[in-house]
């Protein structure tokens, strides 16, 4: 868990940075980005283990980013964060390959649990998968 690298993608700047800080305090490597483009370029240059992805973003929609990440590296697990309150988009995300979804405001402990689960899954997939 200590070597888990979490990429946080959310257009709410304060939220992303604060969350990243808190995760760092807990021993994660965490980076905050604020738009889909930055997130994708970051994935390409420095691939994370788990991505926390906000659904609603101004430039590229969350689902598109999800698709892009999954096509780049399917072993990267994505957890959707939604303030929509709409289970529909959450389910949609799952269909596009997201690991799970959480509603904002998010409980940190629950989030950490999910990240742990996602990381485990990603790792096991990497193990069994020649793709690296």
């Amino acid at each position: 868990m200590d070597d888990a690298y979490v990429l946080i993608v959310d257009d709410e700047v304060e939220f992303a940075s604060t969350l990243a800080e808190r995760m760092e305090l807990r021993g994660f490597k965490a980076k905050a980005t604020n738009c889909g483009e930055d997130a994708l370029s970051s994935v390409l240059t420095d691939p994370p283990d788990v991505v926390l992805l906000d659904l609603k973003m101004p430039d590229i929609g969350g689902l598109e980013v999800l698709d892009a990440i999954k096509s780049t590296d399917p072993t990267i697990e994505v957890i959707m964060l939604t303030g929509h309150g709409c289970t529909v988009s959450g389910i949609e995300g799952m269909e596009h390959g997201a690991f799970d979804y959480l509603m904002k405001p998010v409980d940190l402990n629950m989030l950490l649990e999910k990240i742990q689960q996602a990381y485990e899954q990603g790792k096991s997939r990497r193990m069994g998968d020649p793709h690296g």
């Binding site: 305090l25 303030g83 309150g85 940190l108």
Partner: protein
């Protein structure tokens, strides 16, 4: 003085300031009713009016024709009668003439005897005279002593008697101004081949008598006139003073004429027939049908029938129009209610969307607050103890608590908005009740109203629509809150009935509902709140929703103790129930 005028102004203002909308609406329906009533009445009455008019004139025409026919017939009859009488006389005279011998010519007293005999036979016979034609006797014989002669060779009767054998003279007056007329018969004494004229002088009254005799029914006026129109017998129409018959009558043929005084009124029919062999014309005068009793009866009947038809129709039409107006008004009201309901639903959907938007907007800064507080917490956790460390940690807890409260509210709001469209899903009623109560709890608390929940454990889940159920409970509980006003308890109980229905009882200890209000409680637009404070649609919409879900809603109340709403919800789905709109 000023106070009075102020008072008056205020009164006028209040009177005229009635809701303009309602007045217009009432007036509109009144106008509609009046217009429809007038239109239909007029249209309905047109046929009967036309028929009445037609009937009137047809009858009049018919009656007049009948009168005309009758008068024709009667004239013929009267004429025949008169001719018969005349023929009787001439026959008698001919018989008398048979008996004349030369002795009569010579001796006047023989004639007198004959006269006496004949006077017994013929009424009105005054005198008999004989004039020998082409004979030696130059003086006519007369039955009178001293001998009188009425023979007047100038008279047309004289000539006619010579030519045709019979001549009748017009009425003449003797020196005493007594009327008389002459019938002269030409005959011959067979033995001696002597022609003579038997002149019979009759009393003028005989004519009068004859005229009266022939008038069988005495209904019409029958009288004789000369060719010049001078009356020779009395007429009821034309008094004796009026010696001349005013209507021109042809002397050669039978003639009918009528004079109409005005439209069908006061018609008088005149029939005239010249009597051949006499200088007279027989005249028949008859009143038109107008004066007959039947005519008046007819008019009265017609009028009565028409009036009763008109009144009857008017009454029926009036009732029908009233009924129609009421129906239309009802239907208009229903339509408005429906539109309002739709509008209401639309508004709810809009509000829902608005709420969703707001909730979503709030969620983001909430997340920030939460994380920031968390970060502070983290930092504090990792720092050394210092003076106010615990106090700070406690404070952070408070922040987290508040954020959580906000989260509940926004999530609930979003959940509510989400379920605006109809969807069937497995629902736990208790959950929905709690959700709705959660919504209203805080507000209710400000009015010192508490909730007493008795939700049955293990209440079966049912297949239904969350949004609609939320709305139903929201409406009822809101009503209860409004009813209580200040200080009260709303008790909610859920249970499962024998008939496999879920029962939700919502009871409040407010003032209750009066029986006469109870009847209308689910009616649209019905509200006991003051104008502007309630649309009166809440319960009617609720009723509709419950029915749509296949359930039922009942209300029970004791005035002064409170109200209980019983909401029954089916456990079978709409498909299983086989609803029309499945």
């Amino acid at each position: 003085m000023i106070a009075l005028s102020k008072k008056m102004a205020g009164f006028l203002l209040r009177v005229t300031n009635t809701s303009s909308e309602v007045t217009t609406l009432k007036e509109r329906y009144k106008q509609f009713r009046v217009t429809l009533l007038s239109a239909i009445t007029i249209i309905a009455l047109i046929p009967s009016t036309l028929l009445a008019i037609l009937g009137y004139f047809e009858y009049l025409d018919l009656a007049q024709q009948q009168s005309a026919r009758h008068i024709r017939w009667h004239l013929q009859h009267v004429k025949k009668s008169f001719n018969q009488r005349l023929t009787d006389l001439t026959t008698n005279l001919s018989a008398t003439a048979e008996q004349i011998s030369t002795t009569h010519l010579e001796k006047g007293d023989r004639l007198a005897d004959l006269l006496k005999i004949q006077q017994k036979e013929m009424n009105g016979l005054i005198d008999l005279e004989l004039i020998e034609l082409y004979g030696a006797a130059s003086l006519p014989a007369s039955s009178q002593t001293p001998p009188q002669t009425h023979a007047d060779p100038e008279g047309p009767w004289f000539q006619r008697a010579l030519d045709e054998g019979v001549g009748v003279s017009d009425m003449q007056f003797d020196e005493n101004n007594s009327p008389y007329f002459i019938i002269a018969i030409r005959h011959s004494i067979k033995m001696v081949q002597t022609d003579f004229l038997l002149i019979a002088v009759f009393n003028g009254n005989l004519l009068e008598q004859l005229a009266k005799e022939i008038n069988a029914n005495a209904v019409e006026d029958v009288f004789l006139i000369t060719h010049d129109g001078v009356l020779r017998s009395t007429s009821t129409y034309f008094s004796d003073k009026q010696y001349h018959f005013p209507i021109p009558t042809p002397t050669d043929k039978i003639h009918f004429t009528t004079t109409s005084k005005s439209w069908g009124m006061g018609d008088i029919f005149y029939a005239s027939a010249p009597l051949s062999g006499t200088p007279w014309i027989l005249v028949l005068v008859k009143d038109g049908p107008v004066h007959k009793k039947e005519w008046l009866t007819f008019q009265l009947s017609l009028f009565l029938i028409f009036i009763s038809c008109a009144l009857g129709s008017f009454f029926i039409i009036h009732q029908l129009v009233n009924l129609l107006t009421i129906r239309i008004r009802e239907s208009d009201t229903k339509r408005m209610a429906l539109l309002n309901e739709v509008g209401h639903t639309n508004r709810l959907a809009t509000i829902g969307k608005l709420a969703a938007g707001v909730a979503h907007e709030i969620n983001n800064p909430l997340a920030v607050i939460d994380q920031k507080a968390g970060l502070i917490e983290d930092i504090l956790e990792f720092s050394e103890d210092f003076k106010n460390r615990n106090k700070l940690l406690e404070t952070i807890e408070g922040i987290h608590g508040s954020v959580d409260r906000c989260k509940v509210i926004t999530h609930r709001l979003l959940g509510f908005a989400r379920k605006m469209d109809s969807a069937e899903e497995l629902i736990n009623i208790n959950f929905i009740v709690e959700e709705v109560v959660g919504f209203l709890e805080k507000e209710a608390l400000y009015s010192h109203i508490t909730f007493d929940m008795h939700l049955m454990e293990k209440l079966p889940e049912i297949l239904s629509d969350t949004g609609q159920l939320q709305q139903i409970f929201l409406n009822i509980i809101s009503n209860s809150i409004d009813a209580i006003g200040q200080s009260g308890v709303i008790k909610i109980t859920t249970s499962f009935t024998e008939k496999k229905m879920i029962l939700v009882e919502i009871n409040d200890n407010g003032p209750g509902i009066k029986p006469h209000v109870m009847e209308h409680i689910f009616d649209p637009f019905f509200t006991t709140k003051e104008t502007g404070k309630g649309t009166g649609l809440g319960l009617s919409i609720t009723y509709g929703l419950v029915k749509k879900l296949g359930g039922d809603i009942k209300v029970y109340s004791i005035v002064g103790e409170g109200v209980t709403f019983f909401i029954y919800l089916p456990t079978t789905s709409s498909n299983e129930r086989g609803d029309n709109n499945g």
